[in-house]
């Protein structure tokens, strides 16, 4: 009796949870016919936002990969004083509200911010430009990448690094021929996750970069802007996000399954404080 009650309870809970998560997503596609949805992609607001989003996310993502990968490698390989504190610092943006990130960026790079005078003297103004969007996106997505990358590099057997060194490989060769290829799967997963997070960036961007169509208005900002004016455009952009997000998740899982026979690519290893 109690077994049946328990089974029924879990089934009901799971049913409610799935319905709650799925219903809003399905609603996006049901509210407007698919054909009308596709028509919205001809809308100028959408096109401008798409260009801004792709451009800024791409530049931000490349920067995150270029700076984040060596950083993660360093942290994964070396044991030094303050390592735990450093990792915590990297993780901090993860738990901060994006709005706080926006304020923090303003306080650092804004006209009245910490580096405002110096940047002004160089004739550089960052606030409310595409550079600001790039900084906001990079700031918010980088912990997603760096955390995953640290875990990936840590999962490379130190004996393999040792073997490579005794075989005459200097640091570049050890990195390029052993560490990087062996961590590649995890790095790819972390990179995709960070990219998805960057594309969806809203709070920090709207505070630090504003929402100027064609300049700083990214796709998530366009959704917000169109909410009052043309709900169908907002819906169409949202639908696009659902599809892109699903595609990223599915490809990650298929990739992980093909590599390891496991379905979860998200290996956030114990890299907190060791």
């Amino acid at each position: 009796m109690s077994r049946i009650a328990f089974a029924a309870m879990t089934a009901v809970a799971a049913g409610v949870a799935f319905a709650f998560l799925l219903l809003p997503l399905v609603a996006i596609f049901l509210r407007v016919p698919l054909g009308d949805l596709l028509d919205q992609f001809g809308n100028q607001v959408f096109r401008d936002a798409l260009v801004v989003s792709l451009k800024t996310s791409l530049i931000a993502h490349v920067a995150v990969l270029l700076f984040g990968t060596p950083t993660a490698y360093l942290i994964a390989r070396k044991r030094f004083f303050g390592r735990g504190a450093l990792i915590t610092l990297i993780e901090l943006p993860l738990v901060l509200p994006p709005a706080v990130a926006g304020i923090a960026l303003l306080a650092a790079f804004g006209r009245l911010g910490l580096l405002g005078d110096e940047l002004d003297a160089l004739g550089i103004s960052i606030g409310f430009t595409q550079t600001a969007v790039i900084l906001a996106v990079a700031f918010v997505e980088s912990p997603f990448y760096v955390r995953g990358a640290i875990a990936s590099f840590e999962s490379v057997d130190p004996d393999l690094i040792a073997a490579a060194r005794t075989l005459g490989a200097g640091p570049w060769r050890v990195f390029g021929r052993v560490a990087l290829p062996l961590a590649a799967g995890g790095l790819g997963a972390a990179s995709a996750l960070a990219l998805a997070r960057g594309l969806g960036e809203f709070g920090a961007t709207i505070i630090f970069a504003g929402s100027l169509q064609g300049v700083t208005q990214t796709l998530p900002l366009a959704i917000y802007a169109q909410l009052e004016q043309d709900f169908d455009v907002a819906l169409a952009i949202s639908a696009l996000f659902v599809l892109v997000g699903a595609a990223i998740l599915v490809s990650l899982k298929v990739f992980a399954w093909a590599r390891h026979g496991s379905i979860s690519p998200f290996r956030f290893a114990a890299s907190t404080s060791r």
Partner: protein, 342 residues
């Protein structure tokens, strides 16, 4: 003819590994229990762990000298290091693993009999094949010193014998100074020219396998080398012989001089077995039931009370030895070694 010399202190968790060793064109086995610091010694020679003191040299050139501030990086030392479990690069083929040190080495693939596996990935290989790939890869480095960490540990028991023989032949042909780390005395005895026993970071004895078996310097070495080890208290009798009262109450006589707590070492082949106590010249007789009879080649290892005796299969047959039967194990006082217990 190469040679390597090391005289180093390496701090590890809880204790110091302090080792002085000269290795000519020979294979020296470092044998000892796990945690004794064996791998630490290899890592120090390879440059992966930095000693706190001492020097390491190969063919007269310094690799490490704490006083002269010399410390070559691993990639600058000509070592061939076969790591524990081989550490083959899983993403590279056999061929690419071997050529990692630079240059295609078809000759090495041929020599180690793995040319047919050139395109295979390490994950597809058996333990024995992996070991040969690891050896080929280490040799491709054109090493002055060869370091082998438990090269037989990952093998199943019936390929082990063959691999031991192969490895011994290969090492002889190479004529390189080689340090082999193992916890298995039989592996060491089969492959190495000399054995150094490492306990708690110190070499307690160095010698050939025969030396260690015949004259173990400590109870640990005796046990490692496979003799019987009994514990007791010794005192010298008026007739000049030493009498040892074992913890079990049994009395043993030895020609070795000792007093106080000792380990009594008797080799299994020094012990004879008979049905009844006979008037032979042996001073020591232990009467006990047979606990087990284990065939080892053409011999039988017979466990009698606290002792393991080794008799020929023919003798065991002739006496009709069976488990559970009470027999007498006899050994001479002159074959009874005493080692003081600290």
């Amino acid at each position: 003819m190469g040679s390597a010399r090391l005289d180093i202190t390496v701090p590890v968790r809880g204790f110091d590994v302090e080792v002085a060793l000269g290795v000519g064109a020979e294979t020296v086995a470092l044998v000892g229990p796990s945690g004794a610091g064996k791998t630490t010694v290899l890592r120090a020679v390879a440059g992966l762990t930095r000693p706190s003191r001492g020097r390491i040299s190969s063919n007269g050139s310094l690799w490490f000298d704490s006083r002269g501030k010399v410390n070559l990086r691993p990639e600058q030392r000509a070592v061939g290091y076969v790591l524990q479990e081989y550490a083959l690069f899983p993403h590279l083929s056999v061929e690419k693993n071997v050529s990692f040190a630079g240059g295609k080495r078809r000759d090495l693939l041929e020599r180690l009999g793995i040319a047919g596996l050139a395109k295979a990935k390490p994950g597809e290989l058996s333990g024995g094949e992996r070991q040969r790939v690891a050896l080929a890869r280490a040799l491709a480095r054109r090493p002055e010193v060869l370091l082998l960490d438990e090269p037989m540990a990952a093998l199943d028991p019936h390929t082990r014998g063959r691999v031991r023989a192969e490895l011994r032949t290969l090492l002889r042909e190479l004529g390189l100074p080689a340090i082999l780390v193992t916890h298995d005395f039989v592996d060491a005895a089969a492959v190495a020219d000399r054995i150094a026993v490492l306990v708690d970071g110190r070499i307690v004895q160095t010698g050939t396998a025969e030396d260690l078996i015949a004259a173990p310097s400590s109870p640990f070495v005796a046990e490692l080398a496979g003799g019987n080890l009994l514990r007791g208290n010794a005192r010298v009798r008026v007739d000049g012989l030493t009498e040892v009262v074992l913890d079990s109450g049994l009395e043993i006589t030895s020609t070795d001089e000792a007093s106080g707590p000792v380990g009594v070492v008797v080799h299994p082949w020094e012990i004879s077995i008979s049905r009844a106590e006979t008037a032979d010249s042996a001073q020591n007789h232990v009467r006990a039931p047979i606990e087990s009879i284990v065939p080892v080649g053409n011999r039988r290892r017979v466990r009698v009370g606290p002792l393991t005796a080794e008799v020929t299969a023919a003798s065991a047959e002739r006496l009709g030895l069976k488990e559970g039967e009470v027999v007498v194990a006899a050994f001479k006082a002159t074959a009874t070694r005493l080692t003081p217990l600290a």
